[in-house]
């Protein structure tokens, strides 16, 4: 800077600062704050599991994390949002091909597997995280209570704190909480929903989380998000699909040998069952690659990976119980409640979420809104979730968060 400009600047300071002398104090308007929400979104935190963390296609990395509905929502709010970036290719790297099981592998890197982990991005480390969601977390995890499902990602995301503790570091004014899916999802997909978190335990866990959050941030507002009805997950397909020879042929290609269909899948109670597409992996190593859709017809078959009618009812009732409590909790706190099943049903109706997987597609077998693992939303799925949340938030809190263009 030239001496002349310094002289001019000094003169300007003398003139302008003198004129500003009547101002009582420093200008706090220099502090960066969001422009939407009138302070409601000053500090937004997202708690949850893989759905919120940005897990897709059986893996997670910075690219998928950026696509999380929470990141999108924060962007629309215009508020700071730091997430625990996992350096590419990821931890584990996401699938890139449904048929081959290939995962993201940068050039020159060793071939990625489901055990590959490249840890947190050292360049983006921060002291204040806004997305504290951890893949695999269940209702006990946000407070680290009994039954929590801590894994390696728990450390990588939270660094020794719980989700609730890490969230409170951000002095949150707004939160989205989407927890509970892992209390039943894996059990239901395995065909063993009886191991789901009992309602009383779920309520206790959830209440502990909310109590801790509200104690640390008494004016906190936000959205409590309901649990997904597992039957809507495209990883489950109806047994009736096995009546379609083309679908069975596709399965056979995926398995690598001719898949046999037990007659109980085509008639009787077994025809009402839902089947986990992951059964393909079991069929690859089975001596006889046969799909059995009802328990008892074939010893040792028809249970694992099969959700029969009774189990479907149990799962539905359990999720309804969870969601009834979550909604009541939201109502009691003056928070919004959002039911994901409405959007999921709509996406199913449009074909964006498949009812029967398209096994001929190696890049979008479960529809455009679901990633290659058949459970987690794809980029467009997250946009749909974010837009639905925006509608809910705007309606509840009289805000004007703009929708995301599709």
């Amino acid at each position: 800077m030239s001496r002349l400009s310094h002289f001019v600047r000094g003169a300007a300071v003398a003139a302008l600062v003198g004129a500003a002398a009547s101002c009582a104090g420093p200008d706090h308007n220099l502090v960066t704050l969001p422009t939407v929400g009138g302070g409601l979104f000053t500090s937004y935190v997202a708690l949850g599991n893989s759905l919120t963390a940005g897990y897709q296609s059986g893996g997670i990395n910075d690219s998928t994390q950026r696509q999380s509905f929470a990141v999108l929502l924060a962007h629309q709010m215009g508020t700071r949002f730091a997430y625990p970036s996992l350096v590419n290719p990821g931890c584990p790297p996401p699938l890139t091909n449904f048929a081959t099981g290939a995962r993201v592998t940068p050039k020159g890197y060793p071939a990625s597997t489901d055990a590959t982990c490249f840890l947190r991005d050292p360049a983006s480390a921060t002291d204040v995280l806004n997305n504290v969601a951890v893949p695999g977390a269940n209702s006990a995890d946000p407070t680290g209570g009994p039954g929590s499902a801590a894994n390696a990602l728990t450390t990588f995301v939270l660094g020794g704190l719980t989700q609730a503790q890490r969230a409170l570091v951000a002095k949150p004014t707004f939160a989205t909480i989407w927890i509970g899916n892992n209390d039943i999802l894996a059990y239901a997909l395995n065909g063993t929903p009886q191991f789901a978190t009992p309602q009383a335990t779920f309520v206790s866990n959830y209440n502990a989380m909310m109590t801790q959050l509200m104690a640390g941030a008494p004016t906190l507002k936000g959205v409590l998000m309901g649990v997904v009805q597992v039957a809507l997950a495209p990883q489950l397909f109806p047994a009736a699909a096995l009546a379609n020879p083309q679908f069975v042929a596709g399965l056979s290609v995926a398995v690598g040998k001719q898949v046999l269909v037990h007659p109980d899948c085509l008639a009787g109670p077994g025809a009402q069952s839902l089947i986990n597409i992951q059964i393909v992996s079991a069929l690859r190593t089975a001596p006889v690659p046969m799909i059995v859709c009802a328990k008892g017809d074939v010893p040792g078959a028809g249970d694992v990976g099969i959700l029969d009618v009774d189990e479907q009812a149990f799962v539905q009732n359990t999720v309804n119980g969870y969601n009834a409590y979550i909604k009541a909790k939201a109502d009691s706190l003056g928070w919004a409640y959002w039911d994901p099943n409405t959007v999921l049903t709509q996406l199913k109706a449009t074909g964006a979420v498949s009812t029967v997987p398209n096994l001929a597609s190696s890049t979008a077998p479960f529809g455009t809104a679901i990633s290659l693992d058949g459970v987690h939303p794809s980029a467009s799925g997250h946009i749909a979730i974010a837009n639905a949340l925006i509608q809910t938030i705007n309606a509840k809190f009289n805000t004007s968060i703009p929708a995301i263009s599709q």
Binding site: A21, H28, L33, L119, A125, V128, G159
Partner: protein, 466 residues
């Protein structure tokens, strides 16, 4: 006898200590004497009639007569804060009130030849923040205490013009206390590509304090001061002064480190292959006993920039003295702060400064009433030395406006008391709490909040002429 008196003054000066907080540009200080401060520091073209002219314009010592002694002290009370973006909190600075002494003696003979000595503090700094401050990894506390000792000589070139100057012997002490971030420490493990894994890659949050380091050092440096002063006509005077830069090399520094418990433990399936529950503090403990964080030597250097000032005085209004100065300070020589540790594992830590040269406009007025009381007011507008990328907790630099007032009360013909008050106003400025690793990182990327700063300064000077 004079020698003993000087020794007593020196002891008194030393016992006061010289901590201060910036009230000029950078870590510069203006609290030298008291009369000049009440006139908005505009005292180079219209010097005060006391021995502090040795600093404000060395040539003007020739305008004095006989012996002049000035003993002054200033108190500086600073309020400051950092407010993080996104409502992440406000931290008030924890700066103790600082006291700045100065002592001047001058003798001018009948021919206008003057000799004297000034001991003053043109540069100093204390910035201090509480233990919870998120920027403590740049500075918990930073302290610079610098004394200039200036023998001075002045003489008249003719009836209207005079020159003066003398060498400067500078002594400076620095202290820097920083927290150390566990997130930046290597774990000893490597990733699948063979690169070292740092704790931050395991999810350890930034600003996880695991140690506190203290660096202390002292240095001497030498320079000079020059001045010219004269009467343009019966109403106008002018003066100019120049004080050279002194570059202090703190080559005898000592660095010590203290471990701070984190209480963190490793989770299961950690990449270090250690059992779940392993204390992180145990993993880094050896660094304090036999590793990089043992006590060791350290060196650094710090430029104290040159100053140039030109000013004019006007006495055309009955009982009024008006003055205006322009000051330039060569802060542009402060490029970076390198801290060199003896242990190669720590190496050299560089803080990029990239200061700019600065300017100040100084305006003052003095009215002498019928009792010879002198009423003073002034204003100084000061541009910041630090660029937008270097607004840090060490010096949250910003443009400043200094509003001053003062009063001089004579006691007989030999004694007088001066007092001044200054309010330092700043507009607030965006700044950072993180290190700037290289010059490609912009202020927009770095700055994460706003520093505010204000100060109330009071000075008192006792003057004697004999």
């Amino acid at each position: 006898m004079k020698g003993n008196r000087f020794a007593r003054y020196w002891v008194a000066l030393a016992s006061l200590g010289i901590p201060a907080v910036v009230s000029a540009q950078g870590f510069g200080l203006n609290e030298i004497g008291s009369c000049a401060i009440g006139r908005g520091y505009a005292a180079t073209g219209a010097p005060c009639k006391d021995a502090s002219v040795i600093y404000w314009n060395p040539a003007a010592a020739s305008t004095l007569s006989g012996n002049s002694l000035l003993i002054a002290g200033g108190s500086i009370a600073v309020t400051g804060a950092f407010t993080r973006d996104s409502a992440l909190g406000r931290t008030n600075a924890d700066v103790p009130t600082s006291y700045v002494p100065s002592i001047f003696f001058n003798h001018t003979d009948a021919n206008g030849f003057a000799w004297g000595l000034g001991v003053y503090v043109p540069y100093g700094l204390t910035s201090q923040w509480p233990a919870s401050f998120p920027g403590r990894f740049l500075a918990d506390k930073a302290s610079i205490k610098t004394i200039y000792i200036q023998p001075n000589f002045a003489w008249k070139l003719n009836d209207n013009w005079m020159v003066g100057g003398g060498p400067i012997i500078g002594h400076s002490d620095v202290e820097l206390i920083q927290s150390l971030d566990l997130a930046d420490q290597p774990t000893g493990a490597k990733d699948p590509l063979g690169n070292p894994i740092f704790f931050r890659q395991l999810g350890i949050a930034r600003r996880t304090e695991f140690a506190r380091g203290t660096l202390k050092g002292s240095a001497n440096a030498y320079g000079f001061a020059l001045g010219i002063y004269g009467r343009i006509n019966d109403r106008w005077t002018m003066g100019a002064r120049y004080m050279s830069a002194l570059d202090f090399a703190y080559n005898n520094g000592n660095a010590t480190f203290q471990q701070v418990p984190t209480g963190l433990t490793l989770a299961a399936n950690n990449p270090l292959g250690l059992p779940a529950g392993t204390p992180v503090d145990a993993l880094v403990a050896s660094q304090f006993s036999s590793g990089a964080l043992t006590s060791q030597g350290g060196t650094t250097s710090l430029p104290h920039p040159d100053q140039a000032e030109i000013g004019f005085g006007y006495t055309g209004l009955d009982r009024w003295l008006l003055s205006a100065d322009y000051e330039w300070i060569g802060w542009g020589r402060f490029h970076q702060l390198d801290i060199n540790f003896a242990n190669p594992a720590l190496g050299t830590r560089t803080q990029i400064e990239d200061y700019n040269n600065t300017s100040a406009i100084r305006l003052g007025a003095q009215y002498t009433d019928h009792n010879n009381w002198q009423w003073r007011v002034g204003f100084a507008g000061v541009s910041a030395a630090a660029p937008d990328e270097t607004v840090t907790p060490i010096i949250p630099e910003q443009d400043r406006a200094n509003y001053t007032a003062g009063l001089g009360i004579p006691f007989g013909k030999t004694l007088a008391l001066d007092a001044s008050y200054t309010y330092v106003w700043t507009p607030g400025r965006r700044g950072r709490i993180d290190d700037r690793a290289n010059r490609t990182i912009t202020a927009t990327q770095l700055n994460s909040g706003v520093y505010t700063l204000a100060a109330n300064i009071v000075t008192v000077a006792l003057k004697a002429s004999f």
